[in-house]
């Protein structure tokens, strides 16, 4: 009852007393939990390591310097592999995500009780497993190499693309669909004329965004043997050749910057 009458005056407050007290109680509890956790973490921390950290970091940085530039020449093929894994994986994912998204969207699914839950299950299971874990499993199943990487990236991206796409499908303007339906168009025609034009910008944006993410993810797939520049990274770390590690990190940084630039440009051009 935010509205109150006091001495014939109508007093308005945002909340009444009880909900205001409840909000304060929640805020107090949040602060208390934060302080308690802080205490807990601080007790379990070995502060000697923390105080030592700047020295360790400086030591590692000095071992990385100077980067071993002539190592670059052996990196071009792995960089190419990395980009190929990301691109092919993304392509595979969007081809499969497109129909799944239509099966999952409330307004286009053929059956809300049977097919939609299956489509949602595919989306959730694809999303719940990180690409590194997908790669780990696929390397055991089909052996190490670039192909396992492509599949890992693809499987992880299906859920991401399909989820964002089906949300876009559910947000379309239904009157445009109604208008196409009213002309006597059949189901596939309604899809082609009434729905697809409306989600095309979202579809393109999602694909490029995911490609950009996948470039970053595919740089580490080599750690578990699924091809790409991660293989070299793993090898260099294992042999403690920090001057090579620094070169690889710089190359990854460069690749990611370029991919972000490309995806920003493309998205800008489409939308």
């Amino acid at each position: 009852m935010p509205l109150d009458v006091k001495d014939g005056l109508k007093v308005w407050q945002r909340r009444d007393r009880n909900s205001q007290l409840a909000i304060w109680a929640v805020q107090f509890a949040a602060v208390a939990i934060f302080v308690y956790c802080w205490q807990l973490i601080s007790d379990k921390t070995i502060w000697m390591f923390v105080t030592d950290a700047p020295r360790q970091a400086a030591d590692m940085a000095s071992r990385m310097m100077p980067p071993k530039w002539d190592y670059l020449s052996t990196l071009w093929i792995p960089v190419w592999d990395t980009i190929a894994i990301a691109t092919l994986g993304t392509l595979m994912a969007i081809v499969m995500a497109f129909p799944i998204a239509f099966l999952a969207a409330r307004n286009t699914t053929p059956s809300k009780t049977f097919i939609r839950p299956i489509a949602l299950f595919i989306i959730v299971s694809s999303r719940s497993i990180n690409s590194l874990l997908w790669a780990l499993m696929l390397v055991t199943v089909i052996g190490p190499g670039v192909f396992a990487g492509v599949l890992a990236i693809g499987f992880r991206s299906i859920g991401f693309c399909a989820k964002l796409l089906y949300e876009a499908i559910e947000e379309i303007d239904e009157t445009q669909v109604e208008a196409i339906t009213a002309t006597g168009a059949n189901g596939p025609q309604i899809l082609n004329y009434g729905i697809v034009p409306q989600i095309l910008p979202a579809f393109a944006g999602i694909s490029v965004f995911r490609w950009d993410i996948n470039i970053r993810e595919s740089t580490v797939l080599g750690l578990v043997g699924a091809g790409g520049i991660g293989l070299q990274l793993n090898a260099s770390i294992n042999t403690v050749t920090w001057t090579q590690v620094s070169v690889i990190l710089l190359v990854i940084l460069g690749t990611v910057i370029v991919s972000e630039w490309v995806s920003a440009k493309v998205r800008h051009a489409i939308i």
Partner: protein, 273 residues
């Protein structure tokens, strides 16, 4: 002739939108459907082409009962009913030409429509219609580049290229300025006369309804409370349809002479928008 027989629509929420409507629209008649928001105007015209499934009752177009048709036959029947929408309902990211040609979707196969390979006769007709409404130079523009009045003209072309017998028009002027509203209403009426179409026009604007329709049906809470000529709309009748208000300023006796003048000026007006 379109015939509604004790048409009832009850929504899942329990709202009774139409309470047994009986209505007959002879060929070539332009009828305005007026009534307050929520009276069931939109529901009524959507029950005709079954964008909304009626709960009970019959709808028949030229003795073909629409209410019992299978999905396939219904699609064929929908080709005979053109629909024009309040917010134009053009597919915004398609071109004007694609929007007009989408009116032919019921006549061409999926693959032809997918590759935009419409028969030349359809394309000719599309250009003819666009020229008729003064938009032939806009064929390649995307629909979202057009102004409100232009979009509604494209919507009219899309409905007419279906070669319909009946136009279902849902608030055609609700998003347009007063001048464009009149031009659009005049265009609809003229095209109906040219092609001997009957039309149901849902409209909020009583004055426009009086100016451009030959028959007015007043709907209130799902029931017909007035059915008669435009000049029969007295303050009493309007009070019955909409509720108590001062109606004197709304009602105007339609000036026949002025209307004729407007008709002469239409060609230039259509092009100038």
């Amino acid at each position: 002739m379109l015939r509604l027989d004790t048409l009832v629509k009850q929504y899942k929420t329990g709202d009774l939108a139409l309470k047994g409507i009986d209505l007959e629209i002879p060929d070539g008649q332009v009828m305005a459907l007026i009534g307050p928001s929520g009276a069931g105007k939109s529901t009524l015209i959507r029950c005709v082409n079954r964008l909304v499934e009626p709960t009970s009752g019959k709808v028949s177009l030229n003795d073909m009962e629409l209410t019992t048709l299978s999905q396939g036959r219904l699609r064929k029947a929908r080709r005979r009913m053109g629909m024009i929408f309040q917010e134009y309902a053009l597919v915004e990211r398609l071109t004007v030409m694609e929007n007009v040609l989408s009116g032919r979707l019921g006549y061409v196969s999926f693959w032809r429509s997918y590759f935009r390979k419409f028969p030349q006769s359809d394309i000719d007709e599309a250009f003819r219609l666009l020229a008729r409404v003064g938009l032939d130079h806009m064929a390649d523009k995307r629909a979202d580049e057009l102004s409100g009045g232009q979009r509604q003209r494209v919507g009219i072309c899309r409905a007419l290229i279906q070669d319909p017998e009946l136009l279902l028009v849902d608030e055609p002027t609700a998003s347009l300025d007063p001048k464009t509203s009149r031009q659009i209403m005049r265009l609809i009426r003229e095209l109906c006369a040219e092609r001997k179409l009957s039309a149901i026009i849902n409209i909020h604007d009583v004055l426009l309804a009086q100016m451009f329709a030959e028959r007015i049906v007043g709907l209130q809470l799902g029931e017909i409370v007035y059915d008669g000529p435009p000049d029969g709309l007295t303050p009493d009748v309007l009070t019955q349809i909409y509720g108590e208000e001062d109606w004197e300023a709304t009602i105007e006796t339609v000036d026949e002479e002025e209307l004729e003048d407007d008709l002469v000026g239409e060609e230039t007006a259509a092009g100038s928008d």
